[in-house]
Amino acid sequence: MKTSLITRGQAFFFLLLAVGIWGFPGNSPFVLKGATVYPATGPKIENAVILIENGKIAAVGPGLKIPSGVQVFDVSGKVIIPGLIDIHSHLGFFDADINEFPQPIGPENRALDALYLDSPDWAEAVKGGVVTLVTGPGSGERIGGQSITIKTFGADLSKRIIKEAGEVKMAINARNLSHIQAIRSTLIKAREYMETWDRYDAGDKKEPPPKRDLGLEALVKVLKGEERVRCHAHFANDMLSFLKLKDEFGFGLTFEHSTEAFKIADEIAKRGVGCVSLPLVMRIPLNEDLMRGNAILGKAGVKIAFHTDHPVTQEKWLRLCALLSMRYGLPEEAALKAMTINPAELAMISHRVGSIEKGKDADLVVLDGPWQELASRVDWVYVDGVLAYDRAKDQPLP
């Protein structure tokens, strides 16, 4: 007689377990009450109530009536900001997997295929309040490949991923004449590829379809405005050249690093290009002029977002970038936006994340003091309504 793989008793146990997991606070509705909430898209709310249901923010406000039967956590005296977003990271990669150096043009390469999900860096990022990342190829190639948009925490990988691929990473370096032309030739090829397919789709389809090219396919999405280009650039003249390329092909664009962007702030603002920008925390010794760049960009109306460029600086220090920018003249409100709603909008994921608003993912960072101060610490981090970090569970100070 064949024995069943699991006994009936075991089956019952697993059923109970499943119910138990389902009943975990992450999925049953709960309320965080009494904190000062910075929604990032509006003024701060004192003594706020946030209702979380099914991993989403069901309601937020100062005088909300708390539904009966809902678990209430009193977080009076705490400060809550949206889960932080870093749209330029290399977290989750082995160093050797970031750059495909022998292949300068590789839009078909996808970050997900190299992702190292067991890296301890993910948990460290959560600890710093960083919940959503765009992580992807490096800047060693002209077109490095497609990045992934992913949360830093979650049991189910498919649910963690917000966008599997799409955003194309490009890089122009050090005033090199050939860089722009290499990208331009590739975009022209992509445009021809797009036209070939358009002709085929419009025809009677009696001929076999054109041969697929995964790299050009990715660039077609860029040309159609469905995905954006992320372009690594430090120097102002490199950025000007790339802006010309944008004028020619009309793609959506963010500059990454954007070291000298402040020198051409008006040109950038005029075209609605975002800047993923410095400072990269205290490690990078930039001079005082460059450090003031963010305030200048902000004033010119450029949408800015901070990045850590992990592992250049560790992911968990994203909030420090905001503090340093404030030191160098960026207003507080703009600094908060630059690590929440701005990167969400630049990465086209603001329907899901980036602010504390009804309907958005319940990604929340609870701090023990003002988020604007060095001495404040992250106490809890919620990702999709699940408690992803709890400082009380850290080893106590020996």
């Binding site: 160093d95 010794p285 060095l374 404040s376 610490r377 080893q395 100070l397 020996p398």
Partner: protein, 439 residues
């Protein structure tokens, strides 16, 4: 004729007297009174609405009822904070990166970092670089420890210098200040590339022991020669001098300590073991996991110069590519050590030059101390970790590190609480001279 001789003689005498006078008292001693600020003396007390009186190059008095002489220049510090100049206890400031490591040899105790020190900004000007002296002064850093790089096992002799001064010699506070060594990943990474021994931790430790035994032998033979009667000395020549062994002998005679950079707990244990075997004074550098050995360090009075909180990667590349380290390190390292009674300094391990360097820049050291308060380090300990503690660890506490009468007048004025991220250093005095004013 005679009259003329007299004239010359008198003139020479006059010149000699003037020369001596100018040496003894360079100009008239200027008096400066910094008045009205909250004075963090770092000598145990904080004085609200205090006065720091500077006479010439030294601090004359600190208190709230100090009489200000009529001829004093009064600096109004009302609403501001006044504290001693910041001390960065481990940095490569003023040394060009290619001057840090002698890759030809893993053991070069004869090398002196002071010979590569050039803190003045001029040679970088106009080349797109920053001006190191101005940059570091903007962070209130007035004294630094500089050392050879960490890519050798015994890199050479470190120095304690000021970041600013009237001439090169006057910059030096202590030299040699230490023998700088590294064990563990940094030298391994560098030495492994050359495919020459040492490439393992075992042989790095063995090499340090061998070098120290050589130095013991050398020291013994030199001392034996010194002890000989003069007659005999005339007959036999002194054993040949060796600058490397001479430097290591200072370590063995406990005139200077060893600074050993190491991060993993077992590398720290190796450092302690060797220090005990050869009976020298040890300072741990970087020490990312030093908290695991807190009681031992406290009991043996071994201080630790820790790396910056925001970027604890200083040894052996990125922390994230060293999973062993990531598993055991803790941002509360400084707090745990301080609580256990270990003397700690927080240092930048940074370069002073422009471009994309590899480490935190010294000018942000106060912010790093502020960040450590976010990881359980009490404010007072954080401030001590960048002032009086490094002064004591570096052996220059008689000169700098606190605002006390008789110490060098290295004083900074800040526009707010020093550990606040938005606070700026407004004025910096070094040796009583105002050397930096924020624009």
């Amino acid at each position: 004729m005679r009259k003329r001789n007299d004239f010359i003689r008198m003139s020479l005498l006059f010149l000699a007297v003037m020369a001596i006078l100018s040496l003894v008292c360079p100009g008239t001693e200027k008096t400066v009174a910094i008045k009205g600020g909250t004075v963090l003396t770092m000598a145990g007390k904080t004085i609200p609405n205090g006065i720091v009186l500077i006479k010439g190059e030294k601090i004359q008095a600190v208190g709230d009822d100090v009489r200000i002489p009529a001829d004093a220049v009064v600096v109004d510090a009302a609403g501001k904070y006044v504290m001693p100049g910041i001390i960065d206890a481990m940095t490569y400031f003023g040394v060009r990166p290619f001057d840090l490591n002698d890759s030809s040899n893993p053991v070069t105790p004869q090398n002196r970092i002071i010979q590569a020190y050039y803190p003045f900004g001029q040679f970088m000007k106009g080349q797109g670089g920053i001006e190191p002296d101005k940059e570091i002064l903007s962070g209130g850093v007035t004294t630094v420890y500089i050392a050879p790089g960490d890519r050798q096992v015994i890199g050479g002799q470190g120095a304690v210098v000021k970041t600013c001064g009237p001439n090169f010699d006057r910059l030096i506070l202590r030299e040699p200040a230490s023998i700088d060594m590294a064990i563990g990943d940094p030298p391994k990474a560098a030495l492994g590339e050359s495919a020459k021994s040492p490439v393992t931790r075992m042989s790095i430790a063995a090499l340090i022991r061998k070098s120290l035994i050589d130095a013991q032998e050398y020291d013994r033979s030199q001392k034996a020669y010194d002890a000989k009667p003069e007659e005999e000395k005339k007959k036999s020549p002194r054993p040949p001098r060796d600058l490397g062994n001479e430097a290591l002998a200072k370590l063995l005679n406990r005139e200077i300590p060893a600074r050993i950079e190491s991060d993993l707990p077992d590398d720290l244990r190796t450092a302690i073991r060797i220090a005990e075997e050869f009976n020298f004074n040890l300072v741990i550098d970087s020490g990312l996991t030093a908290y695991l050995l807190k009681d031992e360090l406290a009991k043996k009075k071994i201080p630790a110069v820790l790396g910056p909180t925001s970027h604890p990667f200083v040894s052996g590349g990125e922390v994230s590519s060293t999973p062993e380290l990531l598993r055991v390190m803790d941002e509360r390292n400084a707090a745990i050590l301080a609580k256990a009674g270990v003397k700690i300094a927080i240092a930048s391990f940074g370069f002073g030059f422009g471009g994309f360097g590899d480490a935190v820049q010294g000018k942000w050291l106060l912010l790093e101390a502020g960040l450590a308060t976010g990881f359980d380090l009490p404010d007072e300990e954080a401030l001590k970790a960048v002032t009086i503690n490094p002064a004591q660890i570096l052996g220059v506490a008689d000169r700098v590190g606190s605002l006390e009468p008789g110490k060098d007048a290295d004083v900074i004025i800040l526009d707010g609480y020093p550990l606040n991220v938005k606070t700026w250093v407004e004025k910096v005095f070094v040796n009583g001279e105002l050397v930096f004013t924020k624009e």
